[in-house]
Amino acid sequence: MTLSGGSIIAIKYKGGVMMTADTLLSFGRMARYRGFSRIRSFGDNTLISFTGDHADFTTLMEEMEKEIEHDVQQDDGVVLNASEIHTLLTRILYHHRSDMKPKWTYLIVAGSDKDGKSFLGYIDLYGTHFECDYTATGYAEDLALPMIRREWNPEITEDQAAALLQKCVKVCVARDCKQSSDIQFAKVSETGTSLSRPVKIDCDWSVASYKEIE
């Protein structure tokens, strides 16, 4: 058994990409570490977050840091954009799976492509990869995606996107037993990346019967 992270939800909105993840690392069904950020800001303009094995993700990020260090040392002002990082991570994950030593992670990469347009991409441990307007991993794939499909459109504003994610997370907290209610939001737009401090999702458990037994 290893430390693992749960669901991620990410959507594009007019002007950027927003994503959300809880801040829990589980060890099996034990809530092992709280307050851990599963969303990483990569360079100035890219967000990477993971579902799955935490150690594998850390190793992947070390591998990526080496690549980025290259860019820094060149000092030519050229940096990888999110689309390029997405391709690179795909190659790395596919390589590991072909080596029969998969990095057990599902990654979401957000940022912008070479034309400066918003980019959102998905990669899994097999090297499966695609670009999309919205996506989710873990239980959120089943819980949140249908809600997003119903409500999302390309013209959605930042506030509407935040509200939509909030609504999705609430369902996840209610239905996914490994979802923590301490949630981090992150966004990436022309102005760069920003990660929020973990916020408490307000869930009403007053209906739960254990209160009465107390």
Binding site: T90, Y94, R97, S98, M100, P102, Y122, Y126, G127, T128, H129, F130, C132, T135, E141, D142
Partner: protein, 210 residues
């Protein structure tokens, strides 16, 4: 934990129909694992030249790798031999590349469509390890059994020669019917219409999204 399986089936259906001087090749754009749809718009078609288009279903990551390998090799062919690769040579190349991974195969089922040196429409269909033959029509992927029956019924004993419009309609309708009964196929369809001496034409059409 059991042994890791490096394969995943991402589903999807592809088909191709050849006529006297044309060929159409089509596929759906759904990408799935098990019961969940990962994406509704991932292409299964890949155009290598105006007269060579490949349709692939199976495992998306392996297919992406296969395409990269082929692109690399045909670019090498182009600079070494100072000419673009032709369908006959590409047919053999794909077989060789697939068989080259005989003991760790690409989980991909490919159909190759194009125009031969003689100007005729040709369909080649492959298994995952490079066994291939020339046909007048073919289907592959999760809806293969459904589509091939439809094509058999329509084409096997067709008395008059197939027209290009008939081929396009038959291709679309076969994919639509596969979508009705097969859960890994759907969302939208795309098709290349390849005619001798003309740039390949690309069209899309809607499929059920459920």
């Amino acid at each position: 934990m059991g042994e890791f399986s490096p394969y995943v089936d991402n589903g999807g259906t592809t088909l191709a129909i050849a006529g006297p001087d044309f060929v159409v090749i089509a596929g759906d754009t759904r990408l799935s694992t098990g019961y969940s749809i990962l994406s509704r718009d991932v292409s299964k078609l890949f155009k290598y030249s105006d007269s060579i288009v490949m349709a692939s279903s199976g495992m998306q990551a392996d297919i992406a790798e296969l395409r990269k390998q082929l692109l690399f090799t045909i670019e090498e062919y182009r600079v070494d031999n100072e000419r673009d690769i032709e369908l006959d040579a590409f047919y053999r190349l794909l077989a060789t590349v697939l068989y080259g991974k005989r003991f760790f195969p690409y989980y991909s089922f490919n159909i190759l469509a194009g125009i031969s040196k003689e100007g005729k429409g040709v369909v080649y269909s492959y298994d995952a390890i490079g066994s291939a033959d020339a046909r007048t029509y073919g289907a592959a992927g999760s809806g293969q059994e459904l589509v091939i029956s439809i094509l058999d019924a329509a084409l096997k004993r067709k008395p008059d020669p197939l027209s290009i419009d008939e081929a396009i309609e038959l291709g679309k309708s076969a994919l639509k019917q596969a979508t009705e009964r097969e859960i890994h196929t759907g969302d939208s369809g795309e098709m290349y219409i390849i005619r001798a001496g003309r740039p390949a034409e690309y069209i899309t059409f809607k499929l059920r999204k459920d």
